[in-house]
């Protein structure tokens, strides 16, 4: 899809040199071109706004890059995200239209998406059919398959980073923690990535040598969340997170995960008791048999045996089992726009009210 013609910097340049100058060229950028409508999110390193292009009338998402870290100039994470996004193009990956630099601030200009996954799963006006959920699941995996093929690990797959528009299209967003990985050689990375509830066991056990499998665990969590409507593994901290996993998936053994006992923090967080896997009995009321197989494949303890995105797309859940997937186009009838951010703000407002009413100071 082509961005609106007024957006790319090249055409902005052309305007500023053309004879039919509307205004002084310096005034043609940012502030005047985009009008902020509302705040819709808080990214890894800056606020996200919904804004309208005053010329084309098209909505965009503006992500302001926080520059207050005067100590080290333009943030490396932002730079990484820009470089990554400039090199990616896929239907299930958010599109960066352009960069906007003006008046001491840098904004990333994205295509606008009406909702995020956490937001739409939390609302009650529109109910997703199983065919819709299958479509969302497949779109997420297709996006991941593309990223991994391109040598990119996302490292922060979670509900609020998965965006959905009213046409039912799903796009992965927020590449603030993403990075390129070396396909031939595994290298050490930081393990302080991925929001706790979506973090795979190898990271919780202190692993620093990892690859795209970490995203696949998060994808498994998201898949369950599509059906249950809320995050499945809600740990309170790193150690508790492992306990939560053990309670549902059982305690890992060297048989199912060779090498688990060699993980850096294994001895520190050694499970006190042996628990059995209760996954199927807990989720068979939500998922179809093939759906359960796929989710289980994604939530495999051993990273080496975990399903890859490309394999997941070929699973019977998509290829054989009914119903066939269907994009949730009914979302266009949904009133309002649903992002995790708004839910959070609602909750905070309520909390504040309660606090004010209950015990003032």
């Amino acid at each position: 899809m082509q961005p609106p013609t007024t957006l790319p910097s090249a055409s902005r340049k052309a305007e500023s040199t053309s004879t039919a100058r509307v205004d002084e060229p310096a005034n043609l950028n940012s502030k005047d071109l985009y009008q902020i409508v509302s705040q819709v999110g808080e990214g890894t390193f800056g606020k996200v706004y919904k804004a309208r292009n005053v010329i084309s009338g098209m909505n965009v998402a503006l992500k302001k890059i926080r520059m207050e870290q005067e100590r080290d100039g333009f943030p490396v994470t932002a730079m990484r995200e820009i470089k990554l996004l400039q090199s990616l193009q896929h239907n299930n990956v958010i599109r960066l239209y352009e960069m906007m630099v003006s008046q001491g601030q840098v904004h990333m200009v994205f295509q606008y998406m009406d909702h995020d996954l956490t937001g739409v799963l939390g609302q009650s006006q529109f109910t997703f059919s199983d065919a819709n959920l299958k479509s969302l699941c497949r779109q997420m995996l297709a996006g991941l398959a593309y990223l991994h093929h391109k040598g990119v690990i996302h490292r922060d797959i979670k509900g609020s980073n998965i965006l959905i528009n009213n046409r039912g299209e799903l796009k992965l967003a927020d590449f603030g923690l993403a990075r390129f990985f070396n396909k031939r050689r595994r290298t050490d990375y930081t393990n302080r990535v991925i929001t706790l509830w979506y973090r795979p066991p190898e990271l919780l056990l202190g692993g620093t040598v990892y690859g795209p499998e970490v995203d696949m665990w998060s994808a498994g969590c998201i898949m369950l969340e599509l059906f249950t409507k809320k995050p499945v593994f809600q740990g309170a901290d790193e150690i508790n997170q492992l306990d939560v996993l053990y309670k549902i998936l059982g305690t890992p053994t060297s048989q199912i995960w060779p090498g688990v006992t060699d993980m850096p923090w294994y001895e520190l967080v050694r499970p006190k008791e042996v628990l059995r896997n209760r996954f199927r009995e807990m989720f068979n009321k939500w998922l179809s048999p093939c759906g359960l197989d796929l989710a289980e494949g994604l939530l495999t303890y051993d990273p080496a045996k975990r399903l890859t995105a490309a394999d997941a797309l070929k699973s019977p859940y998509f290829m054989i089992e009914k119903p066939e997937e269907q994009m949730p186009q009914g979302l266009s009838s949904l009133e309002g726009e649903w992002h995790e951010f708004e839910h959070k703000r609602e909750r905070e407002k309520k909390k504040k009210k309660r606090a004010e009413g209950g015990a003032p100071q």
């Binding site: 520059m67 100590r71 031939r184």
Partner: protein, 384 residues
């Protein structure tokens, strides 16, 4: 796919023609000759390389710094800016863009100590972080946040079939943007596979690529063509590769060269004989699907750069074959002028004077001069 060179901003926005380049120089040309500007071009690349090494940057990041620097001066002029601060910002930004970040403080401290030292004898250089951070911001703006730069190194290694094995300095391009995912063998031009070059010759081609950054080549030609030209240099400069090529050229003047079909079958035994694959080298280059006239002009530009570089008192390439290039270069350049700029201190002084003269002219304009110099660039970019 958006990650390849052809879809990149590098190709679409940042390859310009000679005319555009000259237009971008218009303002500086009031205070310096073409030749002096070219000398400054060599000089600043040397300075960037020096600073880059102090900051512990890999060759690739240094190359990116130079490209940032050249792109910035497509829109600005030496006489209006402080090139030393600009190049420091280029190194700083490139260190982050190439995933080997250095601290702002480190960058400014190293730069200050290098520039105010006796090598350059610069009197003034900022010491506080905010100046560099501010410069980085202007730089980002003028670079239009296009931070992905393609270099000839990868093509060079790919052509030599060295995509992954140990490579000097550039320890794999981990974290590199848009690293191509090779799903099978690549074929070039006539479908002949890979170039079988001696290690020393590859090394030499690599050094030639490093040297090309002292010219404006990175603004004028796509990186893969520069890589091909550097292979040509390696074949002429590397003794044993050269003799292989020479002997098969001598041979083929009496016998027609063996055709491509035949080669595949007798390629194996040949490798073990003394006559190294001279034919193959020639056929490989001839078979590439690139414009040879373009390669020839790149080669000319590289020779011109070497002859210019030879006039500077420091930082010259000290590898032997260069002198042979030199002789060739000198014969067609004019004799050294009296006001020849040779030492780094003299060049530094010269840049400062350019700026002073410019400032004086602004204060007391001799005539009202139009300053719209960027229009051609902008139009080119808009058209691209």
């Amino acid at each position: 796919m958006a990650t390849d060179y052809w879809a990149s901003s590098h190709h679409r926005r940042w390859i310009v023609d000679r005319h555009t380049l000259n237009n971008a120089r218009a303002e500086d040309l009031e205070y310096a000759t073409h030749e002096q500007l070219a000398l400054l071009g060599v000089f600043f690349a040397t300075v960037i390389s020096k600073l880059g090494k102090r900051l512990g940057l890999r060759q690739r990041a240094i190359a990116t710094s130079v490209v940032f620097f050249r792109r910035f001066y497509l829109k600005n002029s030496y006489c209006d800016t402080d090139p030393f601060l600009v190049l420091t910002a280029c190194c700083y930004l490139a260190s982050k863009a190439e995933e080997t970040p250095v601290h702002l403080k480190t960058a400014i401290v190293e730069a200050r100590s290098l520039f105010t030292g006796e090598d350059y004898n610069l009197k003034q250089f900022p010491s506080d972080n905010s100046k560099l951070a501010e410069m980085e911001f202007y730089l980002l703006d003028d670079l239009e946040c296009d931070l992905t730069v393609y270099h000839p190194y990868r093509t060079l290694l790919a052509m030599c079939g060295k995509d992954n094995p140990p490579v000097p300095e550039d320890d794999a391009e981990a974290g590199e943007l848009g690293k191509p995912q090779h799903d099978g063998p690549r074929y070039w031009g006539t479908g002949i596979g890979k170039l079988d070059l001696e290690e020393g010759a590859i090394q030499m081609a690599w050094f030639v690529v490093n040297d090309t950054y002292r010219s404006d080549l990175c603004l004028l030609y796509p990186p893969h063509l520069i890589a091909v030209a550097s292979i040509f240099f390696a074949l002429t400069l590397h003794p044993s590769s050269r003799s292989a090529v020479d002997s098969s050229l001598a041979f083929s003047s009496s016998h027609p060269p063996s055709n491509a079909g035949g080669r595949a079958s007798h390629g194996q035994p040949k490798r073990s004989t003394v006559v190294r694959t001279g034919d193959e080298l020639i056929l490989f280059l001839a078979g590439l699907n690139v414009s040879m006239p373009l390669i020839a002009s790149i080669i000319h530009e590289i020779i011109a750069m070497y002859s210019l570089w030879n006039r500077m008192s420091e930082g010259r390439a000290d590898w032997a074959p260069q002198s042979s290039m030199q002789r060739k270069g000198k014969s067609n350049t004019s004799p050294i002028k009296q006001d020849d700029l040779v030492t780094p201190v003299a060049l530094t002084q010269f840049v400062l004077e350019m700026r002073e003269r410019k400032e004086r002219d602004v204060a007391h304009p001799p005539s009202a001069k139009p300053t719209a110099i960027n229009k051609v660039l902008e139009r080119t970019q808009a058209a691209g």
